[in-house]
Symmetry: C2
């Protein structure tokens, strides 16, 4: 059994206004999938490029929208979201507080973001 808390997990700034905490990663022994905590500050947004693996997201706090190829969806706390493999998607934080979410991905799918120096201009 492995237990950590979001408040004791190191924060990686992946791009301006977006931070990522690796709650459960393959480095601590996840067999198949990794759990991250993502925070997007008011007015900022995530990457928008599609990738070959899925995202499963649960919205904890804040408000936002996801812009896909053919649709835009408003998201709120309590929403569970499946982004299919290869699907274009960009998360926007539109509320008064940060948009905070749990995001699960297959093991190793975003290892490059484990580098504390990872940084990509928007």
């Amino acid at each position: 059994m492995y237990v950590t808390n979001v408040n004791s997990t190191e924060i990686n700034e992946t791009m301006p206004g977006v931070s990522l905490r690796w709650l459960l990663s393959k480095e601590i022994g996840t067999p198949h999938f990794e759990m991250r905590y993502i925070e997007i500050k008011q007015g900022y947004n995530s990457f928008g490029d599609p990738h070959e693996f899925e995202h499963e997201v649960y919205v904890l706090k804040g408000k936002g929208r996801i812009e896909g190829k053919d649709q835009t969806v408003e998201i709120n706390p309590g929403d569970a979201i499946l982004i299919f493999p290869g699907e274009k998607h960009r998360f926007f934080s539109t509320g008064r507080e940060s948009l905070e979410m749990i995001c699960i991905i297959p093991n190793g799918a975003e290892d490059r973001m484990k580098d504390k120096n990872f940084f990509c201009k928007p």
Copy 2:
């Protein structure tokens, strides 16, 4: 893209005091892992048997403890938990409100619990 909300997802009572909502399941197209919302009412507990697949859990509300084979761990909101494959574990809800959690498992690992009539005496 598929979006649902916890409040619009059907509730399955899996055993007394424990309910399960299938937020993202293979039936709607998850490629590898499924997301459930679990609520354990005050004073109740989950199954305790080990199984061959992992659980990844994020605690949203309430307080509780997990009893394993050799350890007992207190859990609180913001905790992320990895239960390793084959590891004995039982969740107890010990706070004044229900213990509410997101739980991710490999596709199909608990299909028997998708049956609304699934019921197991504690």
